[in-house]
Subunit: 411 residues, 2 copies
């Protein structure tokens, strides 16, 4: 086994053992592009050696996906096949683990009719509602992780040959997952535990409002719901009580904003690859939580469609803090992939909120909404952190506490 193969093997072990924390007798659903079948087989072998009852493959293919968007009958974009909905919803309900292997071409759907993308998202959003709600509430263990693919690698490293770009992207992925020098699982747990330090401080303050400002033009106040808490790193699956890592890598601590309590202007600090299209140079104006104005230098129609898939898509659902000196950020690389770019930058998401509210596990959807959690079939992260970002927290008794100074935690 070469050094690289041995690092890759450690990465696979990390995804199965720490990512979804697969247990004996549990099913694993593996979402993977057909081009990456060799990697899928490594994951499946590791899963079976962990006692997996059955690996179910959920294959995809970029080329066929693009062909469908360009050439299929218009009516199919208002449908999500019932068998597909059943695959997602039934495995989520039984508590199967889901591992998503992400290597999307950031511009896969460039030139596709944005309305087809929007309608398709609405259709699958409705059909996979059960799956999404169980995922968001950690009712089953899930993990999103990446491996390189040629189109993505060349987008990130356009000056390298394809082979060099692939190897370089592998290096960055393995490094970000702490799989670059042995002992990956222990290092991953230590990293996850380290995120708890900031979480504890933030939870002690229980801020009422956060105020974001930077030279890019961001000037935003974000109210936080009563009873909110900050989370990050490994999370607890509500079905089996075990810790899993929903994202590998992860550098963020996050909570949810109060649905109708966000006001001001926020500027994106990185381009966003969303649904196979790049959106860049964009800003939102929000009033009482709702995005009331949108501008983008590139991909504005895609962005407008993305916040129009349902009512909740135009409200925020996540507030996440990532210091500028995080490892991914320090690499200086623009990944055109949210899994990495969100972990190099403070970000928000528009759409469905993570239910980071005390007692959420016993609340109905209506009760969660009444507590200020936004609801939507979508959830899209966008990056806002800059090296000059300032975030001030205002407590319920009116104290102003510096949280971020010059893009990094102030405490």
């Amino acid at each position: 086994m070469t050094d690289f193969e041995s690092l890759q093997r450690e990465y696979v072990q990390l995804l199965i053992r720490e990512g979804v924390n697969l247990q004996p007798g549990q099913r694993l659903v593996l979402s993977c592009p057909v081009e990456q079948a060799a990697f899928a087989r490594l994951c499946a072998a590791e899963a079976y050696s962990a006692g997996c009852s059955e690996v179910i493959m959920n294959w995809s293919d970029d080329a066929l996906a693009r062909m469908k968007y360009l050439q299929a009958a218009d009516s199919v974009f208002d449908e999500c096949a019932p068998w597909r909905a059943l695959l997602y919803n039934s495995t989520a309900e039984e508590g199967a683990a889901w591992l998503f292997i992400d290597c999307d071409d950031p511009e896969l759907l460039h030139g596709v009719d944005p309305d087809r993308i929007r309608r398709s998202q609405i259709a699958s959003g409705k059909a996979l509602k059960t799956f999404r709600e169980l995922e968001t509430s950690n009712a089953f263990p899930w993990c999103v992780a990446a491996i390189p693919a040629p189109a993505w690698a060349k987008k990130v490293f356009p000056d390298l040959t394809e082979a060099e770009a692939m190897q370089r992207l592998w290096d960055e992925i393995l490094k970000s997952a702490r799989c670059d020098s042995g002992n990956a699982a222990a290092r991953w747990r230590a990293h996850s535990d380290a995120l708890q330090d900031h979480i504890r401080i933030l939870n002690d303050y229980r801020f009422r409002t956060l105020r974001y400002r930077n030279a890019l033009g961001t000037d935003l106040t974000v109210e936080l719901p009563d009873g909110h808490f900050w989370a990050g790193g490994r999370e607890k699956c509500t079905a089996n009580g075990l810790l899993f890592s929903a994202n590998i890598p992860t550098e963020e601590v996050y909570t949810l904003p109060k649905r109708d309590g966000v006001n001001g202007v926020v500027y994106a600090s990185k381009p966003l690859s969303h649904n196979g299209n790049i959106i860049d140079g964009f800003r939102f104006t929000l009033k009482d939580g709702k995005i009331v104005d949108v501008h983008a230098e590139r991909g504005e129609e895609i962005l407008r469609n993305a916040i129009a898939v349902d009512e909740g898509a135009a409200y925020l659902g996540e507030v996440a803090l990532v210091p500028c000196d995080s490892p991914i950020s320090n690499s200086g690389i623009l990944f055109f992939n949210t899994l990495f770019d969100e972990n190099a930058s403070c970000h928000f998401a528009f759409g469905e909120a993570y239910p980071c509210i005390e007692g959420a596990e016993t609340m109905s959807r209506d009760e969660l909404k009444a507590h200020g959690a936004n609801q939507s079939i979508t959830h899209v992260d966008f990056m806002v952190g800059t090296p000059d970002l300032s975030i001030v927290g205002i407590t319920h008794d009116g104290r102003e506490i510096e949280i971020f100074r010059n893009g990094n935690f102030a405490f």
Copy 2:
């Protein structure tokens, strides 16, 4: 485009236009191994250019299938996932076209517990009952066709390098589909029409009984049901009335035997690759239609399990005539793949009967059974033709007509 690419393109066109005869607005389900994604994309592109509303992929992977049989929990072999059943049954019910790309490793499941294979077959047989019945009665257009894969090609041509074996297998596949020298669709239609000559003669005689004999030891009488007819070549889809080709290649004319009217001994003349295992040197003894004795030099347990998946699996469901001087037979190649080997040899199948009975389209399953059609969740062809095979037909008025002499049609 190279010559080979151009032949391959003609093959793809043949599969889409003549194989499933895809119509505008119709869905196509494409069953294909992930390793053959490039070929699947060619088929999808051709389908969309024929007006296909949507291509649905039904991916498989040999390595993961084998891994599952060897390592998954024992209970999963008694299940067929409901979402999988819904994919098959719902697309069959809507009249979608199904194209099966076959390149199975003939020994994929060698060493796997035969009981797991049997139970898995029973589970999927029950769950996909609707699909199988609609397929057998041509209620939707379907086509099984092959492309080479390394494991299969090396099994067929063990003395060639992998690349040579792949190319050689491509050559044989393209030749058998009449895609070796241009004008493939017209040649395919002419070939299909030529099969009608023997069908007309056989249908005029309406034989009561067929008697098979050869030096291998076969001595079998096969009663045919009243109202049976012979078929072959292109067939009519009952949903849209259009002709499709269920097998590419095909050289057979076939009908069904009377369920309880088969008696004697029949020897296989070629090995059979079934469910990823090779069965060789085998014979059946039949009494009143039922297989009452089985012997195989290799794979006997696999064979015993195959005829035990349900009651009908031990009765015959197909009688097919293929002359020894058919093109595939003349190649002298043993393909270890039923799609080819069945078209180089007279064969029978055990399991579900094709409903080749006048008026079948308006009969219930019970009525078909009363007419002598065998019913089962399985249907497995096995080859019995030899260069000395004699088949005599006995008419209802007692005349004896020579049908096959020395392995070829006598008329």
